[in-house]
């Protein structure tokens, strides 16, 4: 599997607007985190949703974010984190 990122790379989630179906929640776009693990390769949900024949198979990563970096005025502990799955084409290296 060819992946653009490796574990512990610092990444930013692209802040672009998505068209149609997409699995990158809006709240995480534009936020900076690290690659927690590489989950494997999966068909691109944005293409499956539109019934495209032979959707591209793309790497999926679990990314870790500090809650304080995601939410202004986060009230919990500085240690608190949030992890979610982001497909490669939504990530950029910093």
């Amino acid at each position: 599997m060819k992946t653009k990122f490796k574990i512990d790379d610092i990444v930013i989630v692209d802040d672009r607007v998505s068209r149609s179906h997409c699995r990158t929640p809006s709240y995480i776009r534009g936020k900076v985190g690290i690659i927690e693990r590489i989950c494997g390769e999966f068909p691109n949900p944005e293409e499956i949703a539109l019934c495209q024949d032979s959707p591209s198979i793309i790497p999926l990563y679990r990314c870790r974010f500090k809650q304080a970096d995601v939410w202004e005025n986060y009230e919990g502990s500085d240690k608190d984190t949030l992890e979610l799955e982001i497909y490669e084409h939504w990530l950029k290296k910093i």
Binding site: S26, Y27, A49, N73, L84
Partner: protein, 327 residues
């Protein structure tokens, strides 16, 4: 709270403010079980993928807010079938009318309530109030059930699915899936090697003990510890390890839980009666794509010498989602 912008649609709720979580989890009705089974059968056979179903649900617009979870599923399934030419509206209407007719039992001639006299505390009494009405009207199946039955009927006749596929799926959700997670956790509490394997590669570890999960998704197991408290949510829909835990409870699918857990996990946990110490990291897992999460709770201290069967009986679903910890 940060600003929320560029929402994808009514489903993209992570980070919103919302009301306290309603912890009631009513038993599913038969039509809901049927609708759920049909959706799972159709997607597991790849007749219609989960992402297509999600996309069409997200596109429902105002209807998304006006109808419930299973109604949305039903409507989006119907729209996809029309789009894909699996059937046309005319055929659907004919089949639906047939389904309605199957339920159209003759009305019983109820006596006029005003003419009935009977004894209340020994006093003759006639009913003039509306307290007979609830028996008289009864509650028929909701219209969406007929839609669901019609969709299933057409798909069965086309040979895409079978009747047995649906009944088997309902049975698995009722009797098989909810017990698997408990079995796995009880094993992890009893067998250190299995526990390690479960944390390293959950799907293989689970498969090695003879549980074959009917899911395309991968499973990640996170152990609760004195350092870290894990909690799972799906902010975009209701991703949940169904083949290990059964159907998600109502609150897991609720807008309030899905919107709030990501930005105020401690407040949400407190509503479940779970107070996490300030110095313990809370790690929220947004199950937003192809992974499903199983949280491994600590083994309760008063269980020395218990066998796996005894242990599995005290494993509760809420522990495995991370909203509660064993006492």
């Amino acid at each position: 709270m940060s600003k929320i912008y560029k929402k994808m649609g009514p489903h993209d709720v992570g980070g919103e403010n919302s009301i306290p979580i309603d912890l009631n989890d009513p038993e599913m009705t038969h039509w809901e079980k049927y609708a759920n089974a049909l959706r799972i059968v159709v997607s597991s056979k790849r007749i219609i993928t989960l992402d297509e179903l999600r996309y069409h649900t997200e596109k429902l617009g105002d209807a998304y807010f006006k109808i419930g979870y299973f109604e949305r599923n039903c409507l989006s399934l119907h729209n996809i079938c029309l789009n894909k030419g699996i059937y046309d509206q005319e055929l659907f209407n004919v089949v639906k009318l047939k389904k309605v007719a199957e339920f159209d039992v003759p009305k019983i001639d109820l006596p006029d309530p005003k003419k009935i006299e009977h004894l209340h505390d020994g006093v003759p009494h006639s009913h003039e109030q509306s307290d007979f009405q609830e028996d008289e009207t009864g509650e028929g199946p909701p219209d969406y059930y007929f839609d669901t039955l019609a969709i299933a009927d057409i798909m069965i006749k086309l040979g895409l699915i079978t009747k047995e596929d649906i009944t088997q799926k309902i049975d698995q959700f009722d009797n098989v899936f909810p017990n698997r997670g408990k079995t796995v956790i009880a094993k992890a509490w009893s067998d250190e090697d299995f526990r390690q394997h479960l944390i390293e590669d959950a799907k293989t570890a689970i498969s090695n003990i003879g549980i074959k999960l009917e899911t395309f998704a991968d499973i990640i197991c996170m152990p609760q510890s004195p350092e870290t408290h894990h909690i799972v949510v799906c902010t975009l829909c209701s991703c949940y390890p169904r083949t290990l835990l059964g159907m998600p409870p109502s609150w897991y699918k609720s807008r309030s839980y899905r919107s709030r857990v990501v930005h105020e996990p401690r407040k949400v946990l407190a509503e479940f009666g779970t107070i996490v110490p300030e110095n313990r990291e809370i790690k929220v897992h947004d199950s937003n794509a192809d992974m499903r999460y199983l949280i491994l709770p600590p083994r309760p201290s008063n269980t020395d010498g218990w066998d796996e069967e005894q242990l599995s009986e005290i494993v509760e679903r809420d522990y495995l989602v991370g909203v509660r910890l064993p006492d």
